[in-house]
């Protein structure tokens, strides 16, 4: 008989808790990392923002300072030539101008102006119309939008009371922005400076097409209506990443440990079970051999006596023939059990289910054993109600179970002198004895094949260790249950039930 390997089942059973553990752990770690990442992102975004803002502000401030210096240098005598010279020479100044109360702009003048100057006059027409109330010796700066184009214009009062000012060349600091952004971005970010409509002014690298930015920061303190989009190229800062790696390794390690430990345990259990099985098989073979040999020896002896004519009288001859009949019956039961077991092991046993009156069935089976029980010096009492209890069962299987249970009682509870068979009101078939009983720890194991409670009792009696195992398999094969319990007042009680199915 080939023992079925339950290794794959065991691995599956072990893998499930391992995976559940891993999943839970991974979930916890992911949550933790997300939190860390969010914190890191917030921290980093703030850091990047401050770096960019500082860099851009420095650029703008540099430009403003250059413009202020240049304008201040002509304030003493703001001649047109001098103003023209500012926009001609100062890279940060796009246009310089002079405005006189009552005369509006005196430089640049529309007539004879360069293209750039003409556009400048058109761009700031509202500013010039508005006038420069409150202009003082200190510079006033204002950001100015022409469509979405941002520019800065600043002015102050000159010595002669006129207003002189300058428009910054935004391209000058735009040209400085790439290096500011590149420096702020470092290796960890892609930065994109955007205008008010979300259009790209600059980016430090190709921005991910499908991914929206990790953060969009307003730069309103430095550049009104400009935003900074930020993508993180390395997903986490190093400490979070380290923690992530560590957590992953710990989880993976724990899972691997569980799997290895379980595997090792299974190997040990398997080895132990294999040894036990082989021991049991050995004892089964020797039991069965003994069981076979004992009746055979008796049969042979009796047969020899009869054939040699040693039995002088009729009574002796009858005794010999009786022995041969009984021992043949014993042999038949034994061989039947072994064959049954083989069929059950290979799941070849077919069950022929039909509606049967359990009372009739059990009574018949019990009565068939009465002579054996009484021959062993025991009393068989059969208590069965008069009303039929109909169940959908395989009649032969039920009979065999009852026979096996009685056989078990005869073998192991002979000292109790009593075997009770009854059919309970709920349809359960009960076979009980007054023997030594079965210790609690063995009550399930008695149904294992080859198992025999290893005590003096088992040692005294012979047996294959298959009877109860066969009984249980038959019960389960029909959809019923066979359990063993302690009997009130001492002894063992086997209960065969069919789940209350009353068809």
């Amino acid at each position: 008989m080939k023992r079925r390997s339950n290794l794959p089942v065991a691995i599956a059973l072990l893998a499930i808790p391992s995976l559940v553990f891993a999943w839970v752990a991974a979930g916890m770690i992911a949550g933790r990392l997300e939190l860390l990442a969010e914190r890191a992102a917030a921290k980093d975004a703030a850091l990047v923002e401050s770096r960019v803002s500082a860099g851009l502000a420095a650029s703008v401030e540099r430009a403003k300072h250059a413009a202020e210096t240049a304008v201040a240098s002509v304030c003493a005598r703001p001649a047109s030539e001098a103003l023209a010279e500012i926009s001609r020479r100062e890279p940060y100044v796009r246009n310089a101008f002079r405005w006189v109360a009552g005369r509006s702009v005196t430089f640049p003048q529309e007539r004879g102006a360069t293209q750039e100057e003409r556009r400048f006059l058109a761009r700031y027409v509202t500013l010039f119309e508005e006038g420069f109330k409150g202009a003082s010796r200190d510079f006033t700066w204002r950001s100015w939008f022409e469509g979405d184009r941002l520019s800065f214009v600043g002015w102050r009062k000159a010595a002669d009371g006129s207003v002189v000012g300058a428009e910054l060349e935004t391209v000058a600091f735009l040209a400085e922005f790439p290096s500011v952004l590149a420096e702020a971005a470092g290796d960890g970010y892609i930065l994109e400076l955007r205008d008010g409509a979300g259009g790209s002014l600059f980016k430090t690298d190709a921005t991910p097409e499908k991914k929206s930015p990790d953060a969009v920061l307003a730069l309103s303190s430095v550049l009104p209506h400009r935003t900074l989009a930020l993508w993180r190229t390395s997903p986490l800062d190093s400490s979070a990443a380290d923690l992530g790696r560590l957590s992953f390794m710990v989880t993976a390690g724990a899972v691997l440990f569980i799997l290895f430990a379980a595997g090792a345990l299974m190997l040990v259990v398997d080895a132990w079970r294999a040894r036990r099985d082989s021991e049991r098989k050995t004892s089964f073979v020797s039991n069965v051999s003994h069981e076979l040999k004992t009746p055979l020896t008796s049969i042979r002896l009796c047969a020899e006596m009869l054939s040699e004519g040693r039995a002088k009288d009729e009574a002796a001859r009858a005794r010999y023939l009786d022995v041969i009949t009984k021992e043949s019956g014993r042999l038949t039961r034994l061989v039947d059990n072994v064959l049954d077991f083989g069929r059950l092991e290979q799941n070849r046993r077919k069950y022929d289910l039909s509606d049967v009156d359990l009372c009739d069935l059990v009574r018949g089976a019990a009565e068939s054993q009465r002579s054996r029980v009484e021959a062993a010096g025991m009393v068989l009492s059969v208590e069965i109600a008069a009303t039929p209890v109909v169940r959908r069962v395989d009649g032969d299987a039920v009979s065999q179970i009852v026979v096996n249970l009685i056989d078990n009682a005869v073998k192991y509870a002979v000292d109790g002198k009593q075997v009770d068979v009854r059919v309970a009101a709920d349809g359960a078939v009960v076979v009980a004895d007054r023997g030594p009983g079965i210790p609690k720890r063995d009550r399930e194991r008695v149904f294992e094949r080859f198992y025999r409670c290893d005590d003096s009792l088992a040692a005294k009696s012979s047996g294959s260790g298959l009877g109860l195992s066969i009984a249980r398999r038959l019960a389960e094969g029909m959809g019923g249950h066979l359990v063993c319990m302690a009997r009130a007042g001492g002894g063992a009680e086997f209960r065969l039930s069919f789940g209350g199915d009353t068809k």
């Binding site: 047109s80 030539e81 023209a84 001609r88 020479r89 100062e90 890279p91 796009r94 640049p108 003048q109 007539r111 004879g112 102006a113 360069t114 293209q115 750039e116 100057e117 060349e169 391209v171 000058a172 735009l174 040209a175 790439p178 290096s179 590149a182 790209s200 002014l201 600059f202 980016k203 430090t204 690298d205 190709a206």
Partner: protein, 440 residues
């Protein structure tokens, strides 16, 4: 008497010094007609010309060159090969006194060769071969990285130049012709000129020419990448022959002549003074401005000064600031035949060509909007103008060639034939005329 002698000697010395200066850069002020009809007000066109002698190779100033190469994905294949070849060729032409840097740009700029003296040419050339195409076109970033490299050696070289190659539209960073033009103007304030080479038919010629124009660099349209090495060589020839830098022209008009407009060039007219800034003048090159004036009537037989031109510039050979001046005069007569005979063909011709180029720009704007009929009409006016001017001044080879070109261009002003290639040719050619780019 003694002091008189000293004064005379000093004057002679001053003149001598002045004389050596004028040997390199000279200036002329020429009216379209040197004899004007007396007692009649009218328009006068005055051409102020700056010219530089050829520069002797051994005596050339040192050059700080930033080569800015487009390495966007569209440069794949032969284009990048030829561009690398051209850049290598440019480096071979430089000497140890020159500085070179190479910037390649795609999504962003990358400095391939930081600004350094050209001492180990082969090592520099080897680094250029690592430039492979990829990504987008961050043109602005590329140019500003090139300018940053140039500034590292500010003051060490007499001439600073960005040589920009692009075959595509600027699609990262500031990308309007206006912004690039302003950036060009800004670089010019720093003494940096940007020469642009547009390769193929997909680049943005408005942007490239504006960048060149505002920084006083050259602009080229190269249709076939095989021509790149030749164009680089020509550009480098220009760069190596710069005869004057930080050129500022100031033309002070005399009473009776009021400047009202500049033909072809942008500049400022303020209180009767025309001021124009140029970045540099190449050896053997002439640059000019044509000023339209309101001329007051004057009696017959009288003569007047029209304007006094003053060119201040820096001589790159020794970093000295110099000035040359010139005066233009006109006389008045009642004899209209004498007036007609006094025509300065060169002035009239250049005025006509510049006016044509301005009309061509307007025609391109109309054609861009799909108004081909108006565009064709403007181009035909150019043709007519060139023919009519020849009727006034006699047959002129340049005007004849222009008339023919205008005729052929007018044919192209239709939905079917107006394409990127034709537009680039026209745009580049009008740019080259406005800027008096040297064409060999």
């Amino acid at each position: 008497m003694k002091t008189e002698t000293i004064k005379a000697v000093a004057a002679a010395l001053a003149l001598a010094a002045f004389g050596t200066a004028t040997a390199d850069v000279s200036c002329r002020v020429e009216p379209d007609y040197s004899v004007r009809l007396a007692d009649k007000a009218g328009d006068a066109y005055v051409k102020v010309t700056l010219a530089a002698d050829r520069v002797v190779a051994a005596n050339r100033p040192s050059v700080n060159l930033a080569i800015v190469l487009d390495r966007s994905g569209s440069m794949r294949g032969d284009k990048i090969v030829k561009a690398r070849e051209a850049a290598c060729e440019a480096i071979r032409r430089l000497d140890a006194k020159d500085i070179v840097s190479v910037v390649a740009y795609d999504n962003k700029s990358e400095v391939i060769i930081p600004a350094q003296y050209v001492t180990e040419k082969e090592a520099l050339i080897a680094r250029i071969s690592s430039i492979e195409p990829r990504g987008c076109t961050a043109l602005f970033d590329g140019v500003s990285a090139g300018a940053t490299e140039l500034r590292k050696f500010k003051g060490k070289c007499e001439i600073s130049r960005v040589l920009l190659l692009s075959d595509g539209q600027a699609n990262v960073g500031p990308s309007s012709p206006d912004e690039l033009g302003r950036y060009g103007a800004l670089l010019m304030k720093d003494g940096i000129a940007v020469s642009t080479i547009g390769l193929g038919v997909d680049y943005n010629e408005d942007l490239m020419t504006r960048l060149s124009q505002k920084s006083d660099g050259n602009s080229y349209f190269v249709e076939n990448s095989n021509d790149l090495p030749r164009v680089f060589a020509r550009e480098l020839g220009d760069v190596l022959s710069v005869a004057a830098t930080k050129v500022a022209l100031k033309v002070r008009f005399c009473g009776g002549f009021v400047p009202v407009a500049l033909i072809g060039r942008d500049g400022r007219i303020m209180d009767g003074v025309v001021t124009i800034d140029l970045n540099q003048l190449y050896g053997g090159q002439e640059k000019y401005v044509i000023v339209k004036c309101d001329a007051a009537p004057a009696p017959a037989g009288s003569a007047r000064e029209i304007a006094k031109a003053e060119i201040s510039y820096v001589d790159p050979k020794d970093e000295s600031s110099r000035t040359v001046t010139a005066v233009g005069t006109v006389s008045y007569s009642l004899d209209s035949a004498a007036v007609a005979a006094s025509v300065n063909k060169g002035v009239v011709r250049e005025r006509a060509l510049n006016e044509n180029a301005m009309r061509t720009e307007e025609a391109l704007r109309r054609a861009d909007r799909g108004d081909y009929a108006a565009a064709r009409e403007l181009i035909m006016m150019n043709h007519v103008n060139s023919m009519q001017v020849q009727g006034a001044i006699g047959v002129d080879a340049k005007l004849q060639a222009d008339a023919e070109m205008q005729m052929s261009n007018s044919m192209k002003m239709s939905r079917d034939s107006y394409d990127s290639r034709e537009r680039k040719k026209m745009k580049t050619s009008s740019f080259q005329l406005f800027n008096q780019q040297k064409l060999k």
